[in-house]
Subunit: 258 residues, 2 copies
């Protein structure tokens, strides 16, 4: 399958490498930033362009790995052919393609990507959607070569997965940052918290998080919570402490009733 990679960011880099290793023939990389396009093309041993009008129109597969609001402008500026057009975005409905092409779908990798960290795609859930049944088979075959976890879900469901991912990844990471700030403002090394962070994530692999909840809020230990609020210096962080503690408490009451 002749494949064109549209984008040269974190997702494009990791997906491009995984496809390359699975012997897909990547015939071109497009990025509006020529340096990024050329760098990724060099890694994948292929050609590149920074001009959407120069995107090849004879590929079998177009993989859009760009920001949500870049999909439509690129699609409008590129020549379209008979290939299959796929995007990788959590929050963008599949229908974004429908005005311009007939064969389209989605391959959403539920993971956080960095250019510098190589990930194995085998453990990344790939959530698929296709407008036509015959393209669903093509997409499933592609996804199955990359990952052990492949599901078809609708655009409507996918948007909730993306929302949940903001909690599980972006918000979690910010909570880490707040914890690091507390430790560092007292002159200690935030690496002291790393084993705790690892173990908390490891527990979530074996136990539903609502069952694994520990700490003063779920115990209803108001004395400790009151002290913690006094020790926090930043008002916004105090609000976050208060609100998350209330939410933990409310959830534990629901659990008991349920």
């Amino acid at each position: 399958m002749k494949t064109v990679l549209i984008g040269a960011g974190n997702v494009a880099t990791q997906l491009g490498k995984a496809l390359h290793e699975a012997n897909y023939r990547i015939i071109q990389v497009y990025s509006r930033t020529e340096a990024s396009a050329s760098m990724l093309a060099a890694r994948l041993g292929t050609t590149f362009t920074a001009d959407p009008a120069a995107i090849a129109d004879n590929a079998d597969l177009y993989l859009f790995c760009v920001k949500d609001d870049a999909i439509v402008p690129i699609l409008s500026a590129m020549p379209v052919g008979a290939g299959l057009y796929i995007h990788t975005a959590g929050s963008v409905p599949m229908g974004v393609f429908s005005e311009r092409v007939e064969r389209y779908g989605v391959l959403y990798p539920l993971q956080t990507f960095s250019k510098a960290r190589d990930l194995s795609f085998r453990e990344i859930p790939l959530l698929l959607e296709a407008a036509r049944e015959e393209d669903a088979w093509i997409l499933a075959a592609l996804a199955g070569k990359l990952s052990d976890t492949v599901h078809f879900i609708t655009s409507e469901k996918r948007k909730y997965l993306h929302l949940a991912a903001v909690f599980a990844c972006n918000f979690t990471n910010h909570i880490y940052a707040l914890a690091a700030e507390i430790v560092e403002s007292e002159g200690m090394d935030w690496a002291l918290l790393q084993p705790l962070i690892s173990e908390t994530a490891a527990k979530a692999m074996v136990l539903p998080p609502s069952d694994a909840q520990t700490g003063p809020a779920v115990r209803g230990d108001y004395e400790v919570m009151q002290k913690h609020l006094e020790w926090l210096k930043d008002d916004r962080t105090k609000d976050i402490y208060r609100m998350l503690s209330e939410s933990i408490h409310a959830n534990s009451l629901k659990e008991r009733k349920g």
Copy 2:
């Protein structure tokens, strides 16, 4: 060193096993719940009591692994001897022992414990404090047999570590629970989020979390955030989304200025 273990919960169980493996002689387990005391004593091949007045007064070391507010009542009800009295609590000052005994200190393991999950103590930071210098050496020798990360810190610093641990463990776990709720309320398996949770934690091992921040809030993508707020059903979860997004945004401005 003849050691008495006071408590039979998660910390006592894991610490007791680690000491046992390091060839410490645990001569007794105390718990107010006889069944717990007897079960842990059996695992450690030792005796037990549920009566504080029956705690041995001739041990070299007493390790309190009980709830914060149980330390003083037990200490008041037990016969005291010439041993070293140590508690394992993050938020309790070392001075809690000072009215009743002369040799005392703290060994605070910065980790979350479950009875059922066996942990290697080698990677758990142990934070120590001792009232007398000669006891500091005893405590350091003990801690060094258990863990590769041993530091002395004051009660004042320790309380901030414990506060940071509430963020890094309890709040993080609750964020996982909220993410799981979003996914499950749409009829999907929350295990889809597990690879993302693992990778987010793994990134924090190699990159300061404030540098690793991704997502709509740090990008300032108000369109996506507005949609997410509409899709969330629960008002408290909406508030948490809004507040954490604001905090992420505020931190990213600080970073840029800093």
